[in-house]
């Protein structure tokens, strides 16, 4: 039996310890804000935060996060009003929106580590997250806005 804390709640898993965290979160727990995009840590749609680090849930096993605190988009802020989430809304960032929860988690992790990133730092830190709709200009501006206060 594996015990994992997700958004402050303890969750048990007695299945395959190698099950990717993404599918545990989505299919077994039912938190669907974390998205599947590539399964190979290439696109960032499944980004969650583990111990203040952005992590790709699609290549992280459930057993990798034993005794660690996992935060998904649902747990980022109690009312959904994290500075990054607010900036995203203010900047009308999304088109289809599918990658945006991963983008937001990546941005939130960036700002934990570096509260005032430069534009170059934003572009570098966010370049692991693909947006096929091509919202990059707005994402970059929203991260900047979140870092300077919304």
């Amino acid at each position: 039996m594996i015990k994992v804390r997700i958004n402050g709640q303890e969750r048990n898993w007695d299945g395959d310890p190698d099950l990717p965290l993404l599918w545990f979160i989505r299919d077994e727990i039912g938190l669907t804000g974390t998205k599947f995009g590539c399964g190979q840590a290439l696109c960032g749609a499944c980004t969650v935060i583990v111990n203040k680090q952005a992590v790709r849930a699609c290549i992280t096993s459930v057993s990798d996060v034993v005794d660690r605190e996992v935060t998904t988009i649902e747990g980022l802020h109690p009312t959904g009003d994290h500075a990054v989430q607010k900036a995203w809304r203010q900047g009308n960032v999304p088109q289809c929106g599918y990658c945006q929860t991963g983008q937001i988690m990546q941005a939130a992790a960036l700002l934990m580590e570096n509260p005032k990133p430069t534009h170059d730092q934003i572009r570098e830190a966010m370049s692991g997250n693909i947006c096929r709709c091509g919202c990059y200009q707005r994402i970059e501006n929203a991260v900047h806005l979140a870092s300077t206060g919304v």
Binding site: G15, D16, D18, L19, P20, L22, W23, F24, R26, D27, E28, G30, L31, T32, G33, T34, K35, F36, G37, C38, G39, Q40, L42, C43, A45, T72, I73, E74, G80, Q85, W88, R89, N92, P94, Q95, C96, G97, Y98, C99, Q100, T101, I104, I122, R123, E124, M126, S127, G128, N129, I130, C131, R132, C133, G134, C135, Y136, Q137, R138, I139, E140
Partner: protein, 772 residues
């Protein structure tokens, strides 16, 4: 109006009418393929009251303008408006209801949007493709809103015992200004529902000067908050009690078949519950599943792991000979020989012979995959002869038809719930993934989700075609272009519908080949044969991508050959402001629109060039090593011009410093979403120009994920993208915004690279061509 108070009732669950012989999508008409009788279903009106005509009535099931179908008002004043088109990021789920709200004087903050089920008899055509939603539905949505407003006003006038002409709906209330009385929409809902629906012909639409929302761009998309907090519901987010999770191993070669499989090892994987064959259809079979072996499990991760353990023997079939490098040669050779003439003005052969100089450009563009961030996925629950589907489908009505046919049950027994689409780009116009889920659910007797992995998406999709484009331009002594021959060779989308389709369909010819707008005395367009060896499908902008690339690259080549400015060359080729006559083109396809309403107007084409040149600073001095490029293209009946500033650094490192795009899409609803579409089009254009290439070896796709089929990431995105929307008056028919931004980007980029480096790229992707 309490037309209904329960918004769920709006969504098409009740009162389904059985329609016999309604079949397939309008594509079949264009292809001239027998067997698809497209029946015009009952509808309120096709075109009535439009200031201009559109092709909306020609789509399967046309349009419906009954407010009782689209609008509900609750007694608390909440207005629910139905969105009957699919949301894949264009903003249509916001913009169409916004039109209704505008016209009925609803306060947008008190409007809720309900997504329609797939039911075209009830809602009219729901195919969300072809950049059609606004241009086909602006007037119908206004009529729906005006009807609702008229009914509210009628109810208030009766309540007060005054003539209806004395009352007016204003911002969620009806006002009788003579007496100062006013009643909220909620107070009037029950009475308004009793009013008869006014005739469309008698409706009075708002004066555009009174618009509060239309054309303003201050309204965020309705799903904005849900997207940012993770509650937005996409195809993969449906969860049903007892639902199983499945992935499918499909034939790696198009037309291949399952010979045998061994699922023993897969069954040993923790969480795997069942391994079984899935029915496939022979190629080509429109959107029917490819078949293969399904692994069904308690979660998706287990299903994927189980699939990895399958042992399968395939019969690859005839397409195993498909090799991209050899096929490229085949296409390029075909483009050097005469082909089917599809447009002819003057005498190109004679003019080329007498020309002082002939410039030849041979261009090649490979297959592309859509790779929407959300791979195809669907949930199905089939039981007791009924099917319910949840999925990210661009064609809810078509999906319903196809599920019914595939399962052999009547259409009224199929419910298609349309989720948000995590990107579409044409991929999700093909409902094979929903059909797979339906077949599997029926077979196992429980709800099931079929999830495509990224590898499935890239290897078993409906790819953008591969093409060779060859243009010969003849110049006279003065440098004027007197002859233009364009040969376009590419496997056709029609090959996905019918075997032995070797020539482009009219809708493909009309995308940048026969509609070429230049004023040249001798023009000939030809379409040599090309056989398909994989499934070809619509990809955002479709054939416009290779044609705009070839035509606009050639403009750059001609400018260089004659030592002229690219923009001046472009304007000279476009020629005088006029309506282009295309009398020599048989079956001219004008994006399904009547030519009278949507002609090729070179004044508008010239204007976007001039606007982008002005706003984008054409001719400005750029730093050493930088270059500017320009391109213009009309597609989806919109006019778009793009300027790109690029630099090429060490080892060919490409930096896009600035992109400026001018778009004239007629009268528009939500300029903020047009901007986002055009910003995104630059990214997609850059992705396909820099990296986009799917190749085949032994009939199999060689790529599988974002590592070997890369798309642009933020660190290589343009540093600045500016969008300039050309204002249009309310009488200019609306045109497309979702797709037309893509085609001009790549040639503008390539022209800019030439300006920066003197290197002319004629084959995409750029890949490593700039490294040497």
């Amino acid at each position: 109006m309490n037309i209904v108070t329960n918004p769920n009732k709006l969504r098409g669950i009740e009162s389904r009418i059985k329609v016999e012989n309604v079949s397939r999508r309008s594509i079949l008409k264009g292809l001239g393929i027998a067997g698809g009788l497209v029946l015009a279903a009952p509808m309120m009106s096709r075109q009535a009251f439009a200031a201009y005509k559109t092709g909306a009535g020609e789509m399967p099931h046309g349009t419906v303008v009954n407010p009782r179908v689209f609008v509900a008002i609750a007694s608390d004043g909440t207005v629910t408006i139905v969105a009957h088109r699919s949301e894949m990021g264009t903003g249509v789920r916001t913009s169409l209801p916004l039109i209704v709200a505008e016209e009925m004087e609803a306060d947008w903050s008190r409007v809720k949007v309900a997504q329609a089920h797939g039911d075209e008899v009830k809602f009219g055509n729901q195919d969300t493709d072809g950049s059609r939603s606004t241009r086909h539905h602006l007037i119908p949505m206004r009529q729906i809103g005006a009807s609702a407003r008229t009914m509210l006003e009628g109810a208030a006038a009766k309540r007060w015992g005054v003539p209806a002409t004395e009352v007016k709906a204003v911002n969620h209330e009806v006002v009788h200004s003579a007496s100062g009385r006013r009643l909220g929409f909620g107070d009037l809902a029950a009475d308004a529902a009793k009013e008869s629906v006014p005739s469309v012909e008698g409706l009075k639409l708002k004066d555009p000067k009174d618009f509060r929302y239309l054309g303003k761009g201050q309204v965020g998309i309705v799903d904005l908050r849900d997207i940012t907090v993770g509650t937005a519901h996409y195809g993969s987010d449906t969860r049903l009690p007892g639902m199983k999770y499945a992935v499918i191993a499909r034939p790696p070669v198009t037309g291949g078949k399952l010979v045998s499989f061994d699922g023993a090892a897969a069954m040993k994987v923790s969480g795997v519950e069942k391994v079984m064959e899935v029915q496939g259809w022979p190629w080509p079979s429109k959107f029917q599943p490819l078949g293969g072996v399904a692994v069904i499990a308690r979660n998706t991760g287990a299903a994927i792991k189980g699939r990895d353990a399958l042992k399968i023997v395939w019969d690859d079939g005839a397409n195993a000979k498909y090799e991209s490098s050899a096929y490229r040669t085949e296409l390029e050779e075909a483009a050097r020989k005469p082909g089917l003439v599809v447009r002819k003005e003057g005498d190109v052969d004679a003019a080329l012979k007498t020309a002082d100089k002939v410039i030849v450009g041979e261009y090649y563009l490979p297959h592309l995959a859509h790779v929407p961030m959300e791979p195809p996925v669907a949930v199905a629950n089939v039981k007791d002869g009924k099917a319910e589907i949840w999925g990210p489908v661009q064609s809810p009505g078509g999906t319903r038809e196809d599920v019914a046919k595939t399962l052999g049950i009547p259409e009224e027994n199929v419910t298609v719930n349309v989720t948000l689409l995590g990107g579409g780009f044409g991929r999700k116009s093909k409902c094979d993934f929903a059909l797979e889920a339906a077949l599997l659910s029926k077979a196992i007797g429980s709800p099931v989700k079929v999830q495509w992995t990224r590898e499935d998406d890239i290897r078993n999709g409906f790819l953008h075609t591969v093409s060779a484009e060859r243009i010969e331009a003849g110049l006279d002594k003065s440098g004027k272009v007197i002859a233009w021959r364009h040969r376009s060779v590419a496997p056709t989308i029609a090959s996905t519908f019918a075997a032995n389709a070797l020539h482009a369909a009219p809708f493909e010819l009309g995308m940048g080949l026969v509609d070429m707008p230049f004023e040249i005395a001798n023009i000939q367009c030809e379409n040599p044969e090309a056989a398909a060896h994989t499934r070809i499908g619509w990809f955002r902008s479709v054939s416009n991508i290779p044609r705009a690339f070839a035509v606009q690259s050639m403009v750059g080549e001609l400018a260089h050959a004659t030592n002229r400015d690219q923009k001046d060359m472009l304007l000279e080729l476009i020629g005088s402001p006029r309506i282009v006559k295309l009398d020599s083109v048989k079956d001219l396809w004008n994006y399904g629109e009547p030519y009278d309403s949507y002609p090729i107007d070179t004044a508008r084409l010239r204007r976007v060039v001039e606007v982008v040149a002005d706003k984008g600073g054409w001719g400005r001095t750029v730093p050493k090593g930088h270059g500017l490029g320009i391109a213009v293209h009309r597609s989806f009946v919109s006019y778009i011009a793009t300027i790109v500033e690029v630099s090429v650094g060490e080892k060919g490192k490409l930096t896009v410093h600035q992109v400026d795009t001018a778009i004239d899409c007629g009268v528009f609803v939500n300029p903020e979403r047009i901007e986002s579409q055009i910003e995104g089009a630059a990214i997609m254009g850059l992705s396909l120009a820099k990296y986009g290439e799917i190749t085949f070896k032994g009939g199999k796709v060689q790529q599988g994920n974002y590592d070997d089929f890369p798309v642009i990431r933020m660190d290589e995105a343009p540093l600045v993208t500016n969008v300039h929307i050309v204002p249009a008056d309310a009488d200019t028919p609306p045109s497309g915004a979702g797709e037309p931004g893509v085609p001009p980007f790549a040639p503008a980029l390539i022209n800019a690279i030439f300006a920066a480096t003197g290197k002319r790229i004629r084959a995409l992707p750029i890949g490593k061509q700039l490294e040497t």
